[in-house]
């Protein structure tokens, strides 16, 4: 039955409007859904209401992603047009949709084209929403003028005289000091603070938000507003920026330099200066010097200095430190230019709203994106922030139901009394768990689910709204225990109903152990921000809070130590002291002898100043040096910081246990081949190898495979094959070879943790790691067919120790057969990339274009990274990181040679001589298991290798199955002669391979006997390896520093890939098409939600034996 989705979108009746898509599509067949897609596409092209249009887009994306493919059995084929893909990555979504729709109409509905349409509709929906928010930000009254100020002489602001008057005695300009608390949300009603939600459903957008001061437990004497911004006039016409936490400073001399957000660590400060109107956004692109702007704003020859400090509060605190820092910068700048009414003290309500609106603008400018409640620190105390209906006269009216900016209602002390506030502080242990994850994908998932009105989501959202009322009521009654119960119910119920990924194994372990330790005195858990693992709250009986703080500090440190090999921790966990801030952002003007900046600022700038000749210093700099000298040496207010200042001036000894000491040892221990390394460096520098050289010659003839080139698991596997497979398993002829040597860099964006050990999802009620999932499947098959199945895990320098330790814990419970590790025998040392390779990767290779502002940030970042590569020396060894991050695995081809060289296969064959076959698979191919039918097919063929492939979807980039110069083989994406060639290929490589051990040994020139001779094996491997291509790749590597700060740097490395075995003439290969759920690889955490929703997670659960 064809559902009436347009009625569900346009109806004013909530019973019709709030129907879940999955329910509406339940009884529709594929023809119905195809017809509905046509209707919806026509509707979204003509709909004038923005949210109706967006809802139609999300419906279309979901139908193409989940509902239609499920009703297209056997329609795996289909090709996505390259032209459409090109439109998609260059953000021409409408054109991409038109192109894909043409494919859809001409080829009929296919999995491949539906995946492309789903991606295009999804991106268009978010782009439409983001565009609307931006338009609203620009059109907010009070912001508009900044976009039309296009020349310094048009600058309409003037600095306040108070800040332009030098002190008669000291000669210094006054300093405006803004202090801003951060915000903590007691409930965000299921992420209702996302702009899109608040603007569509203002009635449901509610947040209980508390402004707090912070201190680090046992470090700071008292909590204080963590954000400090210092602003003053200087006697040089530059914009001088400094962030004492990032230890970064810069003198910006041009307007263009202010709009360069990624060139240094001061992007957020620049965004604040821009959003405050000091350098209005309208000036972007004006080829002017800041001296011209400052001449109008301040007076000839003058400039401005902005210094920020966040009291070492680390990234990922979920307390919106960045947004409140931005708001603090904006508030200070707006005070200085008279845009808000008060120079000192707290802000009036209208001024707070103005600052909040500018903070939204600043986040847009800087390419980041905060929530609608995040500038809550601007306001004082405890407040309820709610969405507001747009009314006639609002720029949002007629476009969205809600306004861009919410309403803030402060709770008076007559509503939530002093005692309750104190009790809250005495009960809540606020922590940073040490994880700093990107919450962006979660916010997208929430938005999509809200607009699809999933049944579970809708119920959960209503429950979250009613829980906010419970939390509010508990606060009013002064019942903090009930509040803790409500925040826990919120976390256990609606939050995880909507986004299961909001929790994780680390958080659950902390809750469980805190509960066990404190019993009745542990009152509950509070999730802060978008997800747990970073900033979190644990509520205890106030009588045990001091004890609980100490306990949590130790607990988090211990659990982190247990899990850090599989979890992306960014820093050591921290416990905070906090208090409620009842003033909001406040400012004070420091004059005369009070003009002093933080000691850390002087530690940052003084070394440069003392290095300069006195003649080169400005008069103010000379005065400042004298002041610092007085205040430090002569026992003044900087006396206590004298060590800090002294250490900034004197050289420090490099730590002996630094990275350089252990790197050579690691290289030696892991089979680093320095001769090969120098050869690769030479080839790279001379241009013989590189990204462009990875490609096959353009004369290569590349075609899609023919129907007879592949087998199909769903139709070619017979009962006889299944029986043969079962018998082989029962006889112990088959083993599993899991590739777990890689770092899973996309999974944690280069954090260098062991992906195999990441307990990412609950299976059978418990969080399990990738490795546990694979072992559970092996266990199940062994039990099912009563066989002994050896399971070998390929490891590397990065993963070997952690995986061995994890296996030691698991092995005792294993009953399926031996579990072994196969340590890698080769390792590479990363190199600083060549500029030509970086340019090739960023400029000549098709890549996803970001939205306008984010693209500008990325372009600026690329320029900075190219400058870094040049200054670090292209082609030099990359050593400025932890040793483990300087090494690299050399590609999965080497895993089989390692298995031969490390003796593991030899020993295994001796212990289990009947072993004849291995199923090789990647750690992230969760659906790969010892399917007896596929094994039977492999057995029957007698081929050396049977590769599993799946029908390609648009996200499956990186090569596939092709006829290359007539031979059916796998071809890597790196080797495609032309990028568009990949779009000719129907099938994608899952990497899962059934291996006939004896035939493979023969290919290497070995047999079971010769495996005992390591010299013979090594020579055979070296000989064979020369027949395979070496690819140069650019990988992102994360370098952590400071307090949770991270740099992501591109490095060059080389690899040889397993799929190239199919190109070796004497290797007989067979290719079999398997269902997507079997071959799907989980590369990024953002895939998890779709993986759960399309039923793959449940299917994988059904494959395992979870009883161990």
């Amino acid at each position: 039955m064809k559902p009436n989705l347009i009625e569900a979108i346009t109806s004013s009746d909530p019973r019709l409007r709030d129907q879940a898509l999955e329910r509406l599509c339940e009884s529709a067949n594929s023809a119905d859904l195809v017809a509905v897609c046509r209707e919806l596409d026509a509707f979204r092209r003509t709909a004038t209401n923005l949210y109706e249009r967006v809802r139609a887009l999300f419906f279309l994306a979901a139908i193409h992603r989940y509902h239609l493919p499920a009703k297209l059995p056997g329609r795996l084929g289909g090709l996505v047009s390259h032209a459409g893909y090109q439109h998609l990555i260059e953000r021409r979504f409408d054109e991409a949709i038109d192109e894909f729709r043409r494919d859809f109409e001409s080829q009929g509905p296919t999995d491949a084209v539906s995946s492309a349409l789903a991606a295009a509709y999804y991106e268009l929906a978010f782009t439409t929403l983001a565009g609307q928010v931006r338009r609203c930000v620009r059109s907010v009254k009070g912001n508009q003028w900044m976009f039309r100020t296009g020349h310094a002489l048009d600058h309409p602001l003037r600095f306040r005289k108070e800040l332009l008057t030098r002190n008669a005695e000291t000669g210094q300009y006054p300093v405006l000091c803004e202090r801003t608390p951060v915000r903590m949300d007691l409930s965000h009603s299921a992420w209702s603070d996302i702009f899109f939600l608040g603007m569509d459903y203002p009635e449901g957008a509610q947040v209980l938000n508390v402004s707090i001061d912070l201190g680090v437990y046992q470090r700071d004497a008292n909590p204080r507003p963590p954000v400090e911004v210092y602003l003053r006039v200087i006697d040089e016409p530059v914009l001088r920026l400094a962030s004492v936490d990032m230890k970064a400073r810069a003198d910006v001399e041009t307007v263009g330099g202010v709009f360069d957000f990624a060139g240094d660590y001061l992007g957020l400060v620049k965004a604040g200066v821009i959003a405050a109107g000091i350098i209005p956004p309208g000036l972007e692109g004006a080829d002017q010097r800041l001296s011209e702007v400052f001449s109008v704003l301040l007076g000839p020859g003058l400039g401005l200095e902005v210094v920020t400090k966040v009291n070492d509060i680390p990234k990922g605190s979920r307390l919106a430190v960045s947004t409140n820092l931005l708001a603090g910068i904006i508030a200070a700048c707006m005070r200085a230019t008279g845009q808000v009414s008060t120079l000192e003290g707290s802000l009036a309500e209208r001024d707070r709203r103005l600052v909040a609106a500018r903070a939204v603008l600043g986040e847009w400018q800087g390419g980041s994106g905060g929530g609608w409640q995040d500038s809550g620190g601007v306001w004082p105390g405890i407040k309820l922030i709610t969405g507001e209906r747009a009314v006639q006269g609002d720029s949002e009216f007629g476009v969205s139901r809600g306004r861009l900016l919410p309403q803030h209602r402060l709770y008076g002390f007559d509503e939530i009394n002093e005692q309750t506030r104190r009790k809250l502080c005495d009960s809540l242990v606020l922590v940073h768990g040490g994880m700093a994850q990107d919450v962006g994908p979660i916010l997208r998932m929430v938005t999509e689910k809200y607009l699809l009105r999933g049944e579970r989501e809708t119920v959960a959202r209503q429950e979250a709204i009613s829980l906010l009322k419970s939390i509010e009521a508990a606060l009013v009654r002064g019942d903090v225990r009930e509040l803790a119960s409500a925040t826990t119910r919120n976390f256990r119920g609606p939050i995880q109903s909507i986004i299961p990924w909001a929790s994780n194994f680390y958080t659950e372990t902390l809750i469980e152990r805190a509960q066990r330790e404190f019993g009745e005195n542990f009152w509950g858990f509070l999730m802060l921000g978008g997800m747990s693992g970073g900033g979190m709250g644990f509520l205890f009986d106030p009588r045990v809070k001091t004890q609980a703080q100490g306990y949590m500090q130790t607990l988090m440190r211990d659990v982190k130590r247990e899990l850090q090999e599989g979890f992306p921790f960014a820093m050591e966990p921290v416990v905070y002291d906090f208090s409620i801030n009842d003033q909001g952002t406040t400012a004070v003007v420091l004059t005369g002898a009070d003009v002093l900046l933080p000691a850390e600022y002087y530690a940052l700038v003084i070394p440069d100043l003392v290095r300069q000749s006195s003649r080169d210093l400005t008069p103010l700099q000379r005065i400042e040096l004298q002041r610092v000298s007085q205040e430090t040496i002569q026992g003044g207010r900087l006396a206590q910081a004298s060590d800090l200042l002294l250490s900034s001036l004197l050289p420090t000894m490099a730590r002996a246990n630094g990275s350089s000491a252990t790197l050579p040892a690691l290289l030696k221990d892991n089979g680093f081949d320095s001769e090969l390394h120098e050869q690769i460096r030479g080839d790279l520098k001379s241009g013989r190898i590189g990204l462009a050289q990875n490609r096959l010659a353009v004369s290569t003839e590349l075609q899609d495979v023919l129907p007879g080139d592949v087998w199909h698991a769903d139709r070619d596997v017979t009962d006889a094959m299944r029986s043969a497979g079962q018998a082989a398993i029962a006889r112990g002829e088959v083993g599993v070879f899991t590739l777990a040597a890689g770092a899973g860099s996309r999974w944690t964006r280069g954090a260098g943790v062991v992906k195999a050990l990441h307990r990412f999802h609950r299976f059978a009620g418990r969080y399990r790691s990738f490795l546990e999932v694979h072992l559970a499947k092996t266990r199940r098959r062994a039990r099912e067919f009563q066989g002994t199945i050896p399971h070998i895990v390929a490891t590397s320098y990065l993963t070997d120790g952690p995986i061995r330790r994890a296996l030691d814990q698991l092995a005792t419970s294993s009953t399926s057969g031996p579990i072994l590790t196969s340590p890698g025998q080769s390792v590479g040392l990363r190199l600083i990339p060549m500029v030509r390779d970086l340019r090739f990767a960023w400029e000549e290779t098709a890549h996803q274009v970001l939205d306008e502002q984010a693209e500008k940030v990325r372009t600026s970042l690329h320029a900075a990274l190219i400058a870094w590569a040049e200054s670090a020396g292209c082609g030099n060894d990359y050593t400025e990181n932890l040793p483990g991050q300087c090494l690299h695995p050399v590609g999965h081809w080497f895993e089989i040679p390692s298995l031969l060289r490390n003796g593991v296969l030899h020993r295994l064959l001796q212990e289990q001589p009947q072993l004849k076959h291995l199923m090789l698979h990647n750690i992230d191919t969760l659906g790969a298991d010892l399917d007896p039918g596929l094994l039977g097919l492999h057995l029957q063929s007698g081929d050396c290798l049977t590769f599993e492939v799946i029908g390609r979807r648009i996200d499956d980039r990186g090569g596939g199955l092709a006829r290359v110069d007539g031979r059916v083989r796998m071809i890597e994406g790196l080797a495609m002669p032309r990028e568009e060639d990949e779009f000719k290929l129907t099938y994608y490589n899952t990497l899962t391979t059934w291996i006939n051990i004896d035939r493979l040994l023969a290919v290497f020139g070995l047999d079971r006997t010769s495996l005992a001779d390591s010299g013979v094996v090594s020579a055979a491997v070296r000989r064979f390896s020369q027949r395979l291509p070496t690819y140069i790749t650019i990988k992102d590597v994360k370098r952590r520093w400071g307090h949770g700060q991270e740099d992501i740097l591109p490095v060059s490395q080389f690899e040889k890939l397993w799929g190239d075995m199919t190109a070796v003439p004497e290797v007989d290969c067979r290719f079999v098409v398997v269902p997507r759920c079997r071959g799907q690889q989980l590369k990024e955490q953002a895939q998890l939600d779709g993986w759960l929703r399309d039923g793959t997670a449940d299917w994988i659960e059904s494959l395992g034996d979870w009883k161990a």
């Binding site: 009254k141 100020t149 002489l153 048009d154 109107g277």
Partner: protein, 290 residues
């Protein structure tokens, strides 16, 4: 009620000697700015004019005015000055309980209506509407820091604006939120022209505000903002242009405007062309074009 009295304030600390600056007017006659202003005032049927000046400057200012009008002018020295509204209050005893015309001493006006001066246009409107009226001019937001700015609703089918708010030297942020007037182009606001017809209640309001502010004088904009709350108060966009002598290059622009609107137009134009042809900026000079 006829408007017969006028006040010109020329005592501001920033005005200095600007009212004494000499210009060649549109008739080609050289005279001080103050004389031009006085002629503007007496282009309407004003009986008596009070000029508030800095202490010790009466003689210079009366010389500048010229004998022709002296009999109808009263000079008041603003000893111990306390601001703009203080200057107006000094003239209260002369203007008494009637509406009066008020001009500032550092603005000159060129009417675009060949038959009527700017003052004539203003008095005509104030008489017809029988309420307080301030002349206003749409001004670029980059100049907001020089003027008082009004916000309100346009009176349909006229050049009048029903003033609801007056803010002194607002930032564009505030102006955009509070002072948008329908019909005024984007990026422009209605700023004071320097010419008002005010009721005697402004004196009462001024005194009340002084009391409320603990003895401190308010700006004229604050007084007029309060006036807008209490009585009908209009703004009018006159057919004419205001030239502010006090802003950078203000005297130059004013002189050029007077010359280009008068008998010496051709001669001045040819001199400008010659200047343009002769003087080029050096290669390194930054061009501060507007």
């Amino acid at each position: 009620m006829r408007i017969e009295k006028a006040i010109v304030t020329a005592a501001g600390p920033n005005q200095g000697r600007l009212p004494l600056q000499r210009f060649v007017d549109s008739d080609g006659i050289e005279k001080p700015a103050l004389r031009v202003i006085v002629e503007e005032v007496f282009s309407a049927p004003i009986q008596e004019l009070v000029i508030v000046v800095q202490p010790g400057s009466v003689r210079e200012f009366s010389d500048a005015v010229g004998r022709e009008f002296l009999s109808r002018i009263v000079f008041i020295e603003q000893t111990n000055p306390k601001g703009y509204t203080d200057a107006l209050l000094r003239a209260e005893s002369v203007v008494g309980a009637s509406r009066f015309l008020h001009l500032v001493g550092d603005h000159l006006y060129i009417s675009g209506d060949s038959g009527r001066s700017c003052v004539q246009q203003l008095i005509e409107a104030a008489t017809a509407e029988d309420c307080a009226v301030s002349a206003v001019q749409a001004t670029s937001e980059r100049l907001l820091s020089h003027y008082g700015v009004v916000g309100g609703q346009r009176v349909s089918g006229s050049r009048l604006v029903d003033i609801e708010r007056v803010i002194e030297k607002p930032t564009p942020t505030v102006a955009e939120q509070e002072l948008l007037v329908p019909g005024v182009r984007t990026g422009k606001y209605l700023c004071f022209f320097g010419m008002h017809v005010l009721p005697p209640s402004v004196f009462t309001i001024s005194r009340e505000l002084i009391e409320r502010n603990g003895g401190n004088h308010s700006t004229l904009s604050q007084v007029l903002n309060e006036l807008a709350v209490r009585e009908r108060y209009l703004g009018i966009e006159l057919v004419g242009t205001r030239y502010d002598l006090g802003i950078p290059y203000g005297t130059l622009t004013t002189q050029l405007a007077l010359a280009l609107a008068g008998v010496d137009r051709e001669s001045v134009l040819s001199q400008i062309v010659e200047l343009l042809a002769t003087h080029r900026p050096s290669r390194d000079a930054v061009t501060r074009s507007d």
